[in-house]
């Protein structure tokens, strides 16, 4: 099936150039990002790690068009987000970006299936049934599609959120500590699902995590500290990541 062919990971799905973000003004100003330049290749699975307050969430928000950088540029595909209006940013989030938050990912009044197709419904585009079925089968929740979020476990909810992020075939999926509220088994299930989306469907995914084990699912780990990219690691293992984190914190 053509749609499942992995795209060559050469071209960047998202790019940040000299990204700076300052919160507040004057004495109270906080520099959350101090010049971050990064590329996320198509079909790549990147984990962003770093100590608390190092700017991971801020980076993710800027990349996803949820927040605007103080300086620098962000591209999703060929689009420079800093040139977009609020309305265009909303449309871009809807069509080009998938998002998984740490919690409160689902609209409580909608069923799991409705939550999954929410971005498509908002856009008013037809749901690709074949792809929908495939995603649903991957998360293994076919029998739960008609349930409301309150009837799902935390892990199931996060997987539904993951399915929602994938179903519109976005350019890139961002996830901020998606396993932060899950036990290790549920976490592993979610990460396995994300990994599969990358491997079999060529999806580009960027996650933020504190968990070295979670990071080991990625192809690449980017280490952030004090708003700077301080290191990168290809094909990480949990041990290597842990070592690196320890050295960062000291």
């Amino acid at each position: 099936m053509a749609s499942t062919m992995p795209a060559p990971p050469t071209e960047a799905a998202a790019r940040a150039a000299n990204l700076k973000k300052v919160y507040g003004e004057g004495d109270a100003a906080v520099e959350a990002l101090r010049g971050v330049s990064l590329e996320f290749g198509r079909g790549g699975f990147t984990a962003i790690m770093g100590p608390s307050g190092s700017g991971k969430s801020t980076l993710l928000h800027c990349l996803a068009g949820l927040d605007s950088p103080t300086e620098g540029n962000v591209w999703i595909g060929d689009t420079d987000l800093t040139t977009l209006s609020e309305r265009q940013l909303t449309a871009l989030r809807r069509d080009k970006v998938g998002f998984v938050f740490q919690a409160f990912n689902l609209v409580p009044t909608l069923t799991a299936a409705e939550n999954i197709t929410l971005p498509l419904d908002i856009a008013g585009t037809e749901v690709d049934r074949v792809w929908f079925d495939q995603v649903v089968d991957t998360i293994g929740l076919r029998d739960r599609l008609r349930h409301r979020p309150s009837e799902l476990s935390g892990g199931q909810q996060q997987r539904v959120a993951g399915a929602r992020a994938l179903v519109s075939r976005p350019e890139i999926v961002f996830a901020d500590e998606p396993t932060g509220n899950l036990d290790s088994r549920s976490g592993a299930e979610l990460l396995g699902f994300l990994r599969e989306a990358v491997s079999t469907h060529g999806q580009t995914i960027v996650i933020v995590t504190h968990d070295a084990g979670a990071a080991s699912y990625a192809d690449r780990v980017v280490f952030l500290a004090d708003g700077h990219v301080v290191d990168e690691m290809r094909d990480p293992t949990a041990d290597l990541v842990l070592d690196r984190l320890k050295s960062l914190e000291s």
Binding site: H61, E86, E114, L118
Partner: protein
Amino acid sequence: MWRATFKSLVAKKLRLVLTAISVVLGVGFVAGTYVLTDTMNAAFEQLFAQTSEASDVVVRSVSAFDAQVEGPGGGGGGDERTPVPEQVLADVLSVPGVATAVGDVQGYAQMVDPATDEVIGGVGPPTIGTNWTDLAGDILSLRGDSVPPASADEVVIDAATARNANLAVGDRIRILFQGPPGEFTIVGVAGFGDADNLGGATLAVFDTATAQEVLGKRGVFDAISVVGDEGVPASELRASVDAALPDGVEAVTSTSVADEASQALQEGLGFFRTALLVFAFVALFVGSFIIFNTFSIIVAQRTRELALLRALGASKRQVIVSVVLEALVVGLLASLLGILAGIGIAVGLQGLLGAFNIDLPSTSIQLLPRTIIVALIVGVVVTVVASILPARRAGSVAPIQALREASDGPVAGDLAGRRLVIAVVVTALGAAALLYGLFGAESDGASIVGLGAAVTFIGVAMLSPLAARPVAGGLGAPLKRLSVQARLGRENAMRSPRRTASTAAALMIGLGLVSMVAILAASLKASFDAALTETLKADYTLSTSSFTSFSPEVGRRVAALPEVETTSAFRQNGFRVDGSTSFLTAVDPGTVEDVATLEVSEGSVAALDERADVVLVHRDVAADNGWTLGDEVPAEFASLGDRPLTIVGIYDENRLVGDYVISLGAYDEYYTEQLDSFVLVTGAEGVPLAEVSESISAAASEFPNVQVQDQAAFREQQAGFVDQLLGLVTALLAMAIVIALFGIVNTLGLSIYERTRELGLLRAVGMSRVQVKRMIRWESIIIAVFGAVLGIVIGILFGWALQQALRSEGVSEFVVPVGQLVAYLVFAGLAGVLAAIWPAKRAAKLNVLEAISYE
């Protein structure tokens, strides 16, 4: 604890304002009613006092009772007393201690605008004709180059009429009287101090001889005003004048005349005030729903905070007190604002009256301590009472809930059964009281009906959460396919049935009453139609557009036409039976049965012709009083006192003539003013109707106030009156609907605040601001339409009950104006759109990042 309350108040300023608005409007309505009626009262008291200063003593004929009923259609106005013979003036003048005395006459005189050939005034306030006396200058102030009327051709008119009709000294004007109309030259324009007219009455002043002639008071005066010599006390003067008077004539001090007048005014204003207060209390009642709802939501939202307070050692009572305290502060502030709003409303209404040419003598706005006290009590009590249930709910929050996720509130599901039972019982009690008030109650029926209606509304409001999910779901079902935001709007409306239901309930009350009134109006119109077709045999009706009485000259002229077969005049007026006011109709016994159906079943109409002291009585009235043919009706007339009437006939059809019928000859004996209420005319055999109507119109052309109408036109005009009344009542209920809309705004605002995270999520995954707004609009529309549906259903039931109760009053038909009710439903939907504007804007403005990281 106090500090926590205060902080919560300050922190949610906006919420406070929104909650308060519903109380402010209701209290404003109450305060405005008092301020307006007090101001009107003060204005007239001042005027009566001024008028009474012109003379010390007034001489007049004795009256059995003060006629409470205005001379029909505001003809001459004032008491119905027989006039005093002219010679009495000479007697009075010869009494020692009398400095001057003048004879006053008053009667119907309606001016015709020369520019438009239409009558001036006559709708409501009277059109008065009177005479210029030596004392007139003390009450009337001549403006500019005016002079008093001095010949049979001259008239002085009130300044408001002059201003509105663009008349000036030197202009000619035609004036209608009881007898033939006349043409006069305006020689003067007069005001009452600064006011251009008096409460909307028009005034035409003639010299005394002319006034006696045109007002039908030849050789008599209605009253004599007496001024005493310097130093003679009014009471002494009264006594010495009284001693010189013939039987049946009395002397009273001017101050007691003023007191009588102001007492009559008090009663009139009292009625007006009560009517307005009813609407004000409807508004407050709706407001109490909003308060209840707002506090319920706030308590639910603060569950964790309250639980934390409890965990930290606050007692149950302290928690309850903190909520009630918040309500107390809201109620107090809102009531104070409401008083200010009330002053604004009163000033606005006064301006509105001015726009309708009803000038009041200028006085300052009257804000009596009573108004402030009532407004404060009503506002605070309504707010506090409405907050008690939510407060108790707050008190039942367990400390453990601090640790749980926020839920929809601490009320458990097992209460549902008990709640249902209570709701059903309340509704049934309300309905029972309503029906008892309508059908069973001997006295206080109206208050029982009102109470029953209120309780029914509360009961239905308690029941409505049951309906909220299915109805909102059903209403929204077509939306499901429309768009995701429509679907979300529907889901949100169904999400918290109690919240949706109580928000909708506030709208239900307003729409229920409006629908009921619409149904009553439609039923009235249909009943009137039926009555016309069944009782009216005449081809044409002569009447005035405002149902005021008019000169019998019109009927006389029409009767003389060769194209006319029968002309039959009807006069209506008030009298007393057993001490309570009733109405009678005077008919021409010779012709009445040719133009109208009475269905006389015992006795005959002809028997009326034989004597003056006989009467026909409607079957139901006779039955209620146990009267049969030959019995006496204990009647009492204002001018003559007790005059028992013997029953010479009993009839079945009362829709045209009411409950008592006498002859025109008898009417002439019992009443001073002889004006026709309506005249029925049939055309002569063989003359085409068009010709008949043309010649009738020509004969009546000198009386522009009189309309010549065939049955269809008459019917249409009646429908017009009913519609006008419907419009007025609907406008007065609008306040309740506006308050209910604020309730929707408030609920949506609070819900949005609660759903911040969810909105953030929707925005994050790509919902545009426009789509967010649409989603909230749909929710609002569903809530509003839900309330409207409930209201209309209740309105239909109430309307039906009311119609059944009024059957004996002639409301024989029951009609549901479907088109109108559908229009209300559509209107409710549009109102929902309106109510959503602000909450939608707020929701759309949410900062996405803050929303998703919001705890």
